[in-house]
C-alpha cells in the first residue's frame, strides 16, 4: 500500500546548544506537492530539517518518512544543505560535486559507472551549468553554487527532496531556474520540502505551508494557512515567557523530557 504521508513528525522537540528551539512539533505532510516550511530567522526551520534527516539528536518525539524509519528509505531522499554550510574552496569541480549525488551506500568502494556519469551530466544540464562543468566551485557565483547543490540532489534520483534555504543569496535568473525545476519535479510526482524565511518571494509556488516559530503555528494548503492571524503569530516576535523558559533550561542545563517519560 502506498504510504499516505511523505513526512510525519510527532511530538518532536530539539535543543540546539542546550537551548530548546523546537517544542513538540506535530504534523504530517502530503505527497507530490511543493511544501514550504516558513518562519523568521531563528525559528528552528533548519533545525527541523536536520532533525528529520537524523543529523542532530532529538530531545523527544520522532520523524518518519513514508511511514518508515529514515534508515530504511534513505535512497528515496535527497537532502540539500544550506549553501553556507560547506567551504567552497574545497578542491573540486562542478562535475565532481554533482557526481557525489551518485555515491550510494553499498557502492562506495566501486567506481562510478558510465550511467552514473551520464545521470550526473543530465542533472548538470537541467540546472544549466553544462558550460561550467569543469569550473572550480570557488569560482562560481552564489546562485551557481546553489544550482550545483540542486544538481547533486537531482543526480540522486530521489522521490523526496529536502532543501534548506535554496533561495538565499541567489540571483533572479537562478531563482527562476530553481522554481521551474521544482514545478517540473512536482509534475513528475516528486515531493519537495523547502525551508524558506521570506514570505514575500516564491511563496506563490508553495502548494502547502508549515508556519513555524519555535512552535508549530499552522500547517495546511497555502490558501488556508496564510491568514492574517497566523502570520502575526509567526512573524510578530517571540513569546516572552517561552524565551524565559528557554534560557532557564539552558542556564540550569535542565533536560527537556523527564527520564523514563515516553512519547506515545
Amino acid at each position: 500500500m502506498k504510504p499516505k504521508h511523505s513526512i510525519e513528525v510527532h511530538n518532536l522537540s530539539v535543543a540546539y546548544n542546550r537551548i530548546p528551539v523546537l517544542w513538540d512539533i506535530d504534523f504530517e505532510l502530503p505527497q507530490g506537492q511543493i511544501i514550504g516550511i516558513v518562519g523568521p530567522n531563528g525559528s528552528g526551520k533548519s533545525t527541523l530539517l536536520k532533525a528529520i534527516m537524523g543529523l542532530i539528536p532529538l530531545s523527544s518525539g520522532f520523524a518518519k518518512i513514508y511511514d518508515k524509519e529514515l534508515n530504511n528509505v534513505r535512497d528515496k531522499i535527497a537532502y540539500v544543505p544550506q549553501r553556507e554550510s560547506v567551504d567552497w574552496n574545497f578542491p573540486a569541480t562542478v562535475e565532481d560535486v554533482v557526481r557525489m549525488g551518485r555515491y550510494k551506500k553499498g557502492k562506495l568502494f566501486s567506481r562510478l559507472s558510465g550511467i552514473d556519469k551520464q545521470l550526473a551530466d543530465e542533472a548538470i544540464e537541467k540546472v544549466r551549468l553544462t558550460p561550467y562543468k569543469d569550473r572550480q566551485i570557488s569560482q562560481l557565483s552564489g546562485g551557481q553554487q546553489q544550482r550545483v547543490f540542486l544538481a547533486r540532489a537531482l543526480a540522486q534520483g530521489a522521490d523526496l527532496y529536502i532543501m534548506d534555504e535554496p533561495f538565499v543569496g541567489v540571483d533572479v535568473a537562478t531563482e527562476k531556474t530553481i522554481l521551474d525545476l521544482l514545478i517540473t519535479m512536482k509534475n513528475e510526482g516528486k515531493t519537495v520540502v523547502i525551508v524558506h524565511h521570506d514570505l514575500q518571494t516564491v511563496s506563490d509556488s508553495f502548494d502547502y505551508i508549515v508556519l513555524l516559530n519555535t512552535r508549530l503555528i499552522a500547517h495546511g494548503p497555502t490558501r488556508e494557512v496564510l491568514t492574517e492571524e497566523n502570520l502575526q503569530a509567526t512573524y510578530g516576535g517571540q513569546l516572552n515567557l517561552l524565551v524565559k523558559m528557554q534560557h532557564l533550561i539552558k542556564n540550569t542545563d535542565f533536560p527537556i523530557r523527564e527520564k523514563g517519560f515516553e512519547d506515545k
Binding site: I77, P81, F90, P91, K105
Partner: protein
C-alpha cells in the same frame, strides 16, 4: 658535493635512511591533505606533541627501542589526545583552540617527565631516546624502515579504498550523513590515519616538528591544483622531496637533527609556492595588476582621443593630449608605442591619429562608460554628479556579455545622463 650525492645513493645505510624518510614524507603529504581540508591542522600539531609520552611508555614497557612497541605507545597517547580534545569541547564551555593548547602542552609535559625518569635509570638502551624530540633519521634501523613501509602501504591502500566517503566527509559531512555514511566512523578512521602517520614520522622529524610535514605540503599543494586527487599527489611529492633533501642537508655536518632541516626545506617549498603559484602566487598577482594598469592606461588614452574627435579634432600632438588629460609622459609614450604596434594608433610627424580599429575600441570604452552612468542613475538612483567616478573604473571591466545585458535592460538608449551621445 657530488661525492656526497653519489654517497647517498650507493651507501646502504644512507640509502636506508633516505628511503625511510621519503616514505614518511609522502604518506604525511597524503594524510595531511585531509587534516588541512577539514581544518584540523592544529589537532595534528597537538597529536604530534602528544605521542611523546607514548614513546616513553613504550620504552618503559619493552625496555628496548623496539619500533613496534614504541609505535603502539605513540598511537595510544596520540589517539588519547584526540579523544581528550573532543571530550573537552563536547562537555565543557572551552573552545576548541583552548582545548588543543591545554591537551598538547599537558601531554608534552608528561613526556618530558617520563624522559627524565628514563635517563636517570641505568638502562644502556636509553641513549638516543632524546632524538625523538627533534628527530634523527640516522638512528633509523632496517626494521624501522620495513615497519614504515608496511604501515605506509596500508595507509595509502585505506585512503584509496575509502576515497569517496573520505571526500564526502571532508567536503560536506551533513550530505554524507544524509546518504547513510557513518560519518563518526570515517572521522575516526581519519584520526587513526593521522595518529599513525605521526607515530611513524617522529623518529625522523621529532615530536616538536612533525606536524609541519602534515601541514606544509598540503597547504602548498592547494595552490597548484583544483582537484582533490591532484592535491594528494602534489602534497605527497612535496613531502617526499623535502624528506630526501632534508636528510641530505642534515648529514653535511655530523650529528645534526634531521627534523629542523626537513622543516627548512618545507619552508622553502612553501615560499616558492607563495611566490610562483599560478593565479594566487605573488608574481601572478603582480602580473595581473600590471595587466590591469596597462588596460586602464590604454583605454584612457583611447577615450581621450574619442573626446577630441567629438570636438572635431582627429589629429593630436602629444602636447595637446597632455593638456586635456594629465598623464606621466613616460607612461603615455610607452602606451602609444604599444598601441601603434597593435594597430590602434598611427603617427604622422608630430601628430597622432586613431586607426579604424582604434576608433572602434574607443567608441566601445565610451559606450561602456556612458551606459554604466545611465545604469547608476536609473537603477541605483545615483545623483548625476556622483556617477562619473564609479563609471571611470567600471568602464574598463564591462565585458561584451555585460554590455549586451546593459543595452537590453536600458533599452538601447541614445544619450547618457549628461546628455552626451552613446556611440554604437
Amino acid at each position: 658535493m657530488m661525492d656526497q650525492l653519489t654517497y647517498f645513493f650507493t651507501d646502504p645505510i644512507a640509502r636506508k635512511v633516505i628511503l625511510g624518510v621519503s616514505i614518511i614524507g609522502a604518506v604525511s603529504g597524503v594524510v595531511g591533505t585531509f587534516s588541512f581540508l577539514r581544518k584540523k591542522t592544529l589537532i595534528a600539531d597537538a597529536v604530534s606533541h602528544s605521542v611523546f609520552p607514548g614513546i616513553c611508555l613504550g620504552f618503559l614497557f619493552a625496555g628496548t627501542k623496539d619500533p613496534v612497541t614504541l609505535m603502539v605507545g605513540a598511537i595510544f597517547t596520540g589517539w588519547f589526545s584526540v579523544w581528550s580534545i573532543d571530550y573537552i569541547v563536547r562537555t565543557s564551555k572551552l573552545s576548541e583552540d583552548t582545548a588543543i593548547a591545554l591537551v598538547s602542552t599537558f601531554f608534552f609535559a608528561i613526556g618530558s617527565v617520563l624522559l627524565s625518569i628514563i635517563s636517570k635509570s641505568q638502562n644502556s638502551e636509553q641513549t638516543g631516546l632524546k632524538s625523538f624530540l627533534f628527530g634523527k633519521a640516522a638512528t633509523l634501523s632496517t626494521t624501522d624502515v620495513q615497519v614504515f613501509f608496511v604501515v605506509s602501504v596500508l595507509i595509502v591502500a585505506i585512503v584509496i579504498l575509502f576515497f569517496k566517503p573520505i571526500q564526502l566527509v571532508c567536503f560536506n559531512a551533513d550530505f554524507a550523513d544524509s546518504i547513510g555514511i557513518k560519518i563518526n566512523r570515517i572521522e575516526f578512521l581519519l584520526s587513526v590515519l593521522t595518529v599513525t602517520t605521526i607515530a611513524i614520522g617522529i623518529q625522523a622529524l621529532g615530536v616538536v616538528l612533525m606536524s609541519a610535514l602534515l601541514i606544509a605540503p598540503a597547504a602548498s599543494a592547494r595552490y597548484w591544483t583544483n582537484k582533490l586527487v591532484g592535491m594528494l599527489v602534489i602534497s605527497a611529492l612535496f613531502g617526499f622531496l623535502s624528506g630526501i633533501i632534508g636528510v641530505i642537508f642534515s648529514t653535511v655536518k655530523d650529528d645534526m637533527p634531521t627534523g629542523p632541516w626537513i622543516v627548512f626545506v618545507l619552508f622553502l617549498f612553501t615560499m616558492i609556492t607563495l611566490l610562483f603559484a599560478p593565479k594566487k602566487g605573488w608574481f601572478s598577482l603582480q602580473r595581473q595588476s600590471k595587466k590591469n594598469n596597462r588596460k586602464i592606461e590604454q583605454e584612457n588614452i583611447l577615450k581621450t582621443f574619442y573626446q577630441f574627435s567629438e570636438e572635431g579634432f582627429e589629429r593630436i600632438t602629444v602636447g595637446r593630449f597632455l593638456e586635456k588629460r594629465r598623464m606621466d609622459s613616460h607612461v603615455l609614450e610607452r602606451n602609444m608605442n604599444r598601441m601603434i604596434h597593435q594597430g590602434c594608433l598611427k603617427r604622422q610627424d608630430q601628430n597622432y591619429e586613431l586607426t579604424e580599429k582604434g576608433k572602434g575600441e574607443a567608441a566601445r570604452i565610451v559606450r561602456s562608460h556612458r551606459l554604466w552612468e545611465l545604469y547608476l542613475t536609473k537603477r541605483m538612483n545615483f545623483k548625476e554628479d556622483h556617477i562619473h567616478g564609479t563609471a571611470e573604473t567600471i568602464e574598463h571591466l564591462i565585458t561584451p556579455e555585460i554590455e549586451k545585458e546593459l543595452l537590453k535592460e536600458l533599452n538601447f538608449p541614445v544619450s547618457d545622463p549628461h546628455n552626451k551621445d552613446i556611440p554604437y
